[in-house]
Symmetry: C2
Subunit: 627 residues, 2 copies
């Protein structure tokens, strides 16, 4: 039931309708448009609604209050679709970390104990610990209180044959550190074959989980879903702002946990594994997502000087956060480096094995918040570049998230200037996704439809270039060919937004390289992580100046590096040690405070770059075309 | 509201009426007698009600169901009074442990941190830990998750001046053991002056708590109350039986926690200390009380071969048990030795300092379950003797717990055989407490009113000796002189019950001494612990053969040894280490399995003992009297 006066976006979220709301309901992004088919809403109109839209009954859901019974149509481009997420599952991440021992932090041990007698009436716990010492040479175990609750019953139900689960948080502890394995569970009988854990990547946009089998080190199932927080804002800043509202943090936390529970349910259903056989939960996420998941204050992440609450979090009982797993399951979160370089990046670095090799590597995770790492096994520097939402379709007139009908590839006839477009799923176009926009801009540049400044050559003989409400634009698809019944265009404003985004990433890379005195050509390897990164065309991304001008064979995609690292550490305690070490060895450089970065950024607001020497092969090619 | 058909004892408990019910409502003890003044109950009559009582409307509450509205009078002797408990507070325990360092496990540290800047934007937690390292040279601290919840706010509210509370569980950790102090709390500003903890003895009958000030090592307040479990049974066996009923364990646990909360409330009210400044809770109790408090299965304590669930329990969050303290407060329970030698005895041994001296010591805690320890700093053996409830007034016709009006001292004119009695508080007599019974029997023995077999000389010229419903008895007080309006007598059955109790204690002592090859006269020190022990007259207890026949100056009372140990370990982490060591070094001897014990027990069913050489001075004195 919806109350009169309730916010329409909130009402939709409560009803489980997936509406995109990139600004989190502030009214500034215009992505949550709906059409009121019948009934009345009270709306505050913003500049995001054209006169034409307003006349058609289109409203921003976040700016509307429900006044009567309603029939509402969610515009195609405002919907959160499932399709691409599903296809993404099929991509297998390329495992780059190597040479690690298969030795999961979670272990199961089977014990056959002698029953107590008058001569041997040790306490139940002492008997258990004696068994672990004698049979497995394991002394000095610590024991969770929860185990004591189950102990007497499990021993007798199993007729003194039991399976003990232990957990370690470090392989080689440092001075003063807890080195004792913790006994976290006891089960009657021999349950060693039922030995599972979960690895999760908690992304700002999506949450991806894997069910892992720990005896053989296999992925049993994988599932991905939109992070339930998405309707509260598109990026971490919007989420942090929302968390400051009364009850906001709690709502965000609940939304994340609800999504995690959905993913877990799906993983268990498809694999027919019983929840009680899951013994551990390894989570990688950025600093904001990690703190929200744990229910911790996020305010100071976004206030200068940008301090996270902590870099290391103690493991917590998963059930205490609302996660539907047995009480013995601990949730371990990857350590973070800084407010905007989180556990997801540490996890990605571990997954990519950068810490294991002397190879000079440039690691990048491209997204709204792009993170970059430069280094090798000896040292690493890192930075976060606030690229804005353009890569995910935000701030782009017809930008949408990658889903069916999104334009993902583009070619242009250099003579007729007519486009050839490909959409995800081969459906009629409904908008442009981030990787599509890169390809469009590269194509327009190479066809000299736009100049290196990103502006249209206005005298070209095609009616596809015209002046629209947002200035000059190029029509990619005429209204009748689309799903949305309107012309799909790319505007100068869109191009400008993407140029700002790519400039931020490249300037970050340059600033970081210079800070350690390394030239672009010295990089032996470029690792691209992230779902978005996985979809981009390397050559075209080099053409527009997003990626450095290096031979294509130096680029490697790892897909979801954060999830990869979470999985590998679930299999190897050594890598868990490495994660701590890497988080501590990474030096974070705060770009927002760097004059050098600002200079580099301004120089990068050109296609591919103001300084042609930074992109020698692209410059040569463009020069050849223009002759 | 009471339902029709509800058990009257349960209804009384629910209504907060304190009724004594030594057998836990089984109907076998007859201590819960009430008089139905109006209304109807449905009662199952047992042999515990005389015809006269039945006619007067007296019923056993536990055997009665409520049928109509009732007016019920709780018989004077069935009431749980508060008086003696209050006076007991005034006795100061004699501290015997010595040479310990004042270094509480709980510490407070004040930090003045520098606020974060762009050049120094460490995470809040790293800043805190750096402060602890720089200012106090404390590295490798572990941090409770709860602290992270408060951290951001506390730092900013205190303007980067905060007080950090740490807890250690061991001073000198053993191999592989957690040695890192845990950071358990953070408060804005300087709160070092507000630094308190609690020490508790959880007894089967009473719960005693002390509020401790940790900067100066002082007792701020002390309070004692009946353990809320008392109405569920008088001894641990009755409680274990009750815990096996559906919901029984939960009820017992709640009852204990409710009493603890009452005691805490009283301690805070009298001392005007705020609950939030309490940082720790140290608890000593017998094995059953400890396991019930923690909500753990107790069943196997009472089933051969008598295995406790564990000897060591990890600290638990006090609030998770229902204790009304802040979430950062951990509850530490003393380690136990065996099912019937619990943390209270380990605590008593630590409090008495037995582990610190070469002095050959006999330590005894006299009660329903009497525990004895023999040893010194090098070795210790221990045993538990099931003495029965006679020392606490159970199984004694007019036996009551020590409270106002209880006969506590007795003398008899050897010529007229007229008694001279003293009662607690000088009130009219209403019954006999345990220590009173010892004095009565000693007096009757020395006056040759009873023989060494505990039977009355039936030909003596006094109407005070007569045959009653339970056989021969001696009238201590005529009906008109009493509170209860009936003659108060001591019967042969009562004497027999006390003889069994003292025989069990003494036989335990003999069996233990013999097992290590030590003669009675070799003991340099006898330490008597426990509230009951504190009240007994040493010479008279030797006369009846409860205590060994040693010079009176070798006996020392320590009062509540369990509470004493809990307090001292709250002041000294070294003693906490000692407690673990002592629990492990004590060898438990299971007397119920020992043929030697049975022989000693039968020999001890005589006043003072079948073997006169065991009690040379008493035998000499009795021989002199009889001449």
């Amino acid at each position: 039931m919806v109350e009169q006066g309730e916010n329409l976006l909130q009402a939709a979220i409560s009803a489980g309708v997936r509406v995109y709301a990139s600004c989190g309901g502030a009214g500034t992004c215009g992505t949550c448009k709906v059409k009121i088919e019948s009934g009345e809403v009270a709306t505050t109109r913003t500049e995001k609604l054209s006169d034409e839209e307003y006349q058609q009954g289109i409203r921003q859901a976040c700016q509307s209050r429900v006044m009567t019974n309603l029939s509402v149509y969610v515009l195609v481009e405002s919907r959160l679709e499932k399709v691409v997420l599903a296809s993404e599952q099929k991509r297998v991440s390329q495992v780059l970390a190597s040479g690690w021992r298969f030795k999961p932090p979670l272990s199961k041990y089977f014990l056959e104990l002698s029953p107590p007698t008058a001569e041997d009436n040790l306490s139940d716990l002492s008997r258990l610990l004696r068994g672990m010492r004698r049979r497995y040479n394991l002394s000095h175990l610590s024991v969770d209180f929860y185990v004591l609750k189950k102990l007497a019953r499990a021993l007798r139900k199993g007729k003194w044959k039991v399976t003990v689960t232990t957990l370690v948080t470090a392989s080689k502890p440092r001075a003063g550190e807890e080195r004792r394995p913790r006994v976290i569970n006891i089960e009657p009988g021999d349950s060693r074959e039922k030995h599972y854990s979960l690895a999760f990547d908690i992304g700002t946009t999506t949450i991806c989980g894997q069910l892992l089998e720990l005896n053989r080190g296999k992925i049993v199932a994988e599932h991905i879903a939109y992070n339930g927080q998405i309707s509260y804002g598109n990026d971490v800043i919007a989420r942090i702002n929302f968390s400051q509202k009364p009850g906001g943090l709690k709502k965000l936390q609940k939304a994340t946990v609800a999504t995690m529970n959905d993913v877990i349910e799906e993983l268990l259903a498809t694999s027919r594994v019983d929840a009680k056989h899951i013994g551990h939960l390894m989570v990688a996420g950025n600093t904001t997502m990690t703190q929200i998941l744990l229910g911790l204050e996020t305010k100071y992440i976004r206030l200068a000087p940008y301090t996270p609450l902590a870099n290391f979090f103690p493991p917590v009982e998963a059930a205490s956060l609302g996660i539907k797993l047995d009480k013995h399951v601990h949730l371990y979160t990857f350590p973070a480096v800084a407010s905007y370089v989180g556990g997801d990046i540490v996890s990605g670095v571990i997954g990519a094995g950068i810490h294991q090799r002397k190879t000079l590597t440039f690691f990048m995770d491209i997204g709204t918040n792009g993170e970059i790492v430069i280094g090798n096994s000896d040292w690493m520097v890192t930075a976060s570049c606030s690229a804005g939402p353009a890569f995910e379709g935000g701030g782009v007139k017809h930008g949408i998230v990658a889903s069916e009908g999104a334009i993902e590839d583009f070619d242009i006839d250099h003579a007729s200037l007519e486009p050839k477009i490909d959409t995800i799923g081969g459906k009629k176009p409904k908008g442009i996704c981030g990787s599509g926009l890169i390809n469009i801009i590269a194509g327009l540049l190479e066809a000299r439809v736009i100049g290196q400044n990103g502006k249209f050559h206005r005298t070209l003989p095609t009616k596809r270039i015209r002046k629209g409400s947002d200035g000059y634009e190029y029509v990619l698809s005429w209204a009748k060919e689309t799903q949305i019944g309107r012309d799909i265009v790319v505007t100068e404003v869109d191009i400008d937004n993407l140029m700002r985004a790519k400039a931020a990433m490249f300037a970050g890379f340059q600033t970081l390289s210079k800070s350690v005195g390394i030239e672009c050509r010295d990089f032996e390897q470029v690792i691209i992580a992230g779902a978005f990164g996985n979809n981009i065309n390397i050559e075209k991304a080099i053409t527009i100046g997003l990626l450095p001008d290096l031979p294509v064979d130096r680029f490697i995609f790892v897909g979801n590096g954060s999830l990869l690292g979470a999985r590998l550490t679930s299999f190897s305690t050594d890598l868990l040690d490495d994660a701590r070490r890497v988080a501590q060895m990474m030096t974070n450089i705060e770009l927002s405070e760097s004059a050098d970065f600002m200079n580099n950024y301004i120089a990068a607001l050109f296609l591919p770059h103001t300084n042609a020497r930074e992109f020698p092969t692209v410059s040569k090619r463009l020069a050849k075309i223009s002759k």
